[in-house]
């Protein structure tokens, strides 16, 4: 008999060492998230997964489950805060869904729909970073990076390559490519790399594939992101 905690009034069993996020996922309960991926060490940076544990805000992807915890997640208050976080991500980058090839497969867009975001609310920053198209098969569209560091973790921990890194601090953080030239073509990145599969938004893209999947057959056309709780499928499948 495993231990349990309470999530929005529901008893959730957990294994020792599991985080609230992991236990919720195993029980099929959706908690919004962007920087967490079941295959990687949590990063705890996007704060979208913030829940209230015994009345206090905390990131559920890093907080260890414990017996008897009272956890709130799907509340008006928390979802409003999450919506604001997503709105800020939208205006910091260039996320023009109608003309973005990741539309329908993008976790940022799907999360915005899930949270009922109707408009970006804030003024757009309109960053203007040039794309890196140097690699014959991959394109980097830096203006869409949400700094989740998944590609950094995947490249370092799985591919053992360190192709990507986050540089700068605070509002100046940005994605860089680890090559003297700064160009993707001058790294040893390969199409099969985990780092290439993992971007939740439309930064790391296989070239010449955009829009090949018709509207109606994309990841989130049939079911919203909360319907993909097991998560890893939507994160890794093409």
């Amino acid at each position: 008999m495993s231990d349990t905690f309470t999530l929005d009034g529901r008893e959730i069993p957990f294994e020792p060492g599991q985080t609230i996020m992991q236990a919720a996922l195993a029980a099929g309960v959706y908690i919004p998230r962007l920087c967490y991926h079941p295959e990687f060490k949590p990063h705890g940076s996007c704060k979208l997964c913030t829940v209230k544990v015994n009345g206090r805000h905390t990131a559920s992807c890093t907080y260890k489950a414990a017996p008897g915890l009272q956890v709130e997640s799907n509340t008006e208050e928390l979802n409003t805060e999450r919506r604001t976080l997503v709105q800020m991500l939208f205006v910091e980058g260039n996320h023009f869904c109608p003309s973005c090839e990741k539309s329908g497969d993008c976790q940022l867009q799907a999360t915005a729909y899930e949270l009922g975001m109707m408009s970006p609310h804030f003024d757009h920053f309109f960053p203007d970073r040039p794309v890196d198209a140097s690699h014959p098969d991959l394109l980097l569209e830096f203006n869409r990076c949400i700094l989740c560091s998944l590609c950094v973790r995947a490249s370092r921990d799985v591919d053992r390559k360190n192709v990507f890194a986050l540089a700068g601090r605070g509002i100046h953080s940005h994605l860089i490519v680890n090559a003297a030239s700064g160009r993707l073509a001058d790294t040893n990145v390969a199409l099969e790399d985990k780092a290439v599969q993992v971007c939740p938004v439309g930064v790391i893209l296989k070239k010449r594939r955009g829009f090949a999947v018709p509207i109606g057959q994309r990841t989130y056309d049939a079911a919203p992101i909360s319907g993909h709780v097991q998560g890893s499928a939507s994160l890794t499948e093409e």
Binding site: E101, V213, P214
Partner: protein, 500 residues
């Protein structure tokens, strides 16, 4: 070069009237008229602010994004840009011939677009003027008024448009901002269920399209004094024509005729469009003025769109529309018809043709096929041309070895008609406004002339026939003496400040 009424002798002595939509979005139009003390017209100019920024904006973007991105260019016919861009990029991929499924899906999308756009412009925007009169009661001169007085006409017009939008949804995935065409082919075919859903209605659609031609013909032939002369000017005409000189909206070679119908050029591969066309810049207009190089600026301008296409082709390859074309040609008396209001009649002939083509495509099993893409040998450059609802549309791109766009040049239908629309507006101003006290009804005559061409003006989409206008009477120093405003709801206020 200056055309009659394009530039006044001594403009500083004249009053200025500006017809200016209130909303300042891309692609809006404005007419300025200079009047003297006796309200005599000295200068008339139609200025259209084109969204040129796009050609720069798209540079540095990956080529496969372009057919989706370009749909932001126009709220009325995004599908035209979508397809013209896809065609240009087919060439960049070295693809000259699509799979039958891909070509037919794109055609289906395009003819659906033709149907919805033409229906919108005829029924929603133009029929109120044509049915009630150009200076009829402004409160009734709109689609709501048409629905009250002619409920069946309005209902069928609305359903024709809806059907066109459904065709787009099934071929592009969405009514607006779809993704169906991709460089080298399409991303989907129709499912049997989608085809059957469209088939269910297509026979009504053909029948109603036929009624629409008859309505437009009736309006024209019952008032020849007005319809044959309103805003008339003579000009060359240009379009693409398909195999054997067929009317074809999706693909063909360029053909131009002079004002008597004589061929200027024919069978020209549009990849070389810049060998035969040139664009002139004029200081007073943001929009360029294209002309046929061999004829020069003064003689080489032309008109495009339904009136040009229906008279440029040898025949229409569907029987009902062909019968209507013959009737139109007979009415014109064996010489080209140049009257702008004849755009409406020919526009409805095209609606009928589009409906017939859609019907045939829905009966063709290729649209259910699974071969969607073709590959070729990569090139650096490509031109895509289609006949958009408003006329010939050119997209031209260069793409570097990293797959990014390095050059984009567009000639949109409205640009092709720039000189022609200016001529029509000048004719109407001279004939109807000259020496008169300006009223809303008189100014609407100007709008009627512009609407005959059905330009890609955002104001036309936004207000659906209730184009908000600002009319300023300025003194010689350019200071406002008076202002008339027509609100978005069609109300006309004579006093200053009400439009703010």
């Amino acid at each position: 070069m200056s055309f009659n009424l394009e530039t006044a002798e001594n403009p500083e002595k004249l009053r200025r009237v500006a017809i200016d939509p209130v909303s300042r979005v891309e692609g809006h139009g404005k007419v300025t008229i200079l009047l003297d003390d006796q309200n005599k017209v000295h200068q008339v100019r139609l200025h259209i602010v084109e969204f040129r920024g796009f050609e720069r904006f798209i540079q540095g973007r990956p080529y496969w994004e372009v057919p989706v991105m370009v749909q932001r260019l126009c709220g009325i016919c995004p599908v035209s840009h979508h397809l013209a861009a896809a065609k240009a990029l087919d060439r960049v991929l070295g693809v000259r011939k699509l799979t039958p499924t891909a070509e037919k899906m794109r055609r289906l999308m395009h003819y659906g677009q033709m149907l919805q756009s033409h229906a919108l412009h005829f029924f929603h925007l133009s029929s109120p003027d044509l049915l009630f009169g150009f200076d009829s009661d402004v409160a009734r001169r709109n689609i709501v008024g048409v629905a009250e007085k002619y409920p069946e006409t309005a209902r069928k017009g609305i359903l024709l448009r809806k059907f066109g939008q459904e065709v787009i949804r099934h071929t592009a995935g969405k009514r607006v901002h779809g993704t169906g065409a991709i460089p080298g082919g399409v991303n989907k075919a129709l499912t049997v269920a989608e085809r059957d859903e469209l088939l269910k209605d297509i026979y009504h659609i053909v029948a109603w399209s036929r009624e629409a031609v008859h309505l437009a013909r009736e309006l024209h032939t019952s008032n020849p004094a007005l319809y044959n002369s309103f805003g008339i000017f003579r000009s060359n005409m240009m379009s693409i024509v398909g195999n054997n000189g067929d009317l074809d909206f999706y693909h063909g070679n360029l053909r131009a005729r002079d004002d008597n119908g004589g061929i200027i050029f024919d069978g020209v591969d549009y990849q070389g469009y810049n060998n035969i066309l040139e664009e002139e810049v004029k200081s007073w207009s943001y929009m360029k003025f294209p002309y046929i190089k061999s004829l020069g600026k003064d003689q080489g301008w032309y008109k495009v769109g339904p009136l040009a296409r229906v008279q440029n082709c040898n025949q229409i390859p569907t029987p009902l529309a062909e019968a209507e074309r013959r009737e139109f040609v007979d009415y014109a008396g064996g010489t080209p018809m140049h009257a702008p209001l004849a755009f409406h009649w020919t526009r409805m002939i095209e609606v009928l043709h589009a409906a017939e083509v859609i019907k045939d495509l829905l009966h063709d099993d290729d649209i259910l096929g699974s071969e969607l893409m073709t590959e070729g040998v990569r090139q650096q450059e490509g031109v895509g041309v289609i006949e958009a609802p408003r006329g010939t549309l050119f997209h031209h791109y260069q793409v570097d070895e990293n797959d990014l766009i390095t050059m984009c040049n567009l000639i949109v239908s409205t640009t092709n008609n720039n000189q022609a629309m200016n001529e029509a507006v000048r004719h109407v101003a001279r004939r109807y406004l000259h020496g008169k006290e300006i009223t809303e009804g008189l100014l609407n005559h100007i709008e009627v002339a512009i609407r005959a061409f059905d330009p890609c003006l955002s104001c036309a989409t936004h207000a659906l026939g209730k184009m908000p206008l600002e009319v300023e009477l300025l003194d010689a120093e350019g200071l406002p003496l008076d202002r008339l405003a027509k609100n978005g709801d069609g109300r006309f206020c004579a006093s200053l400040g009400l439009a703010d």
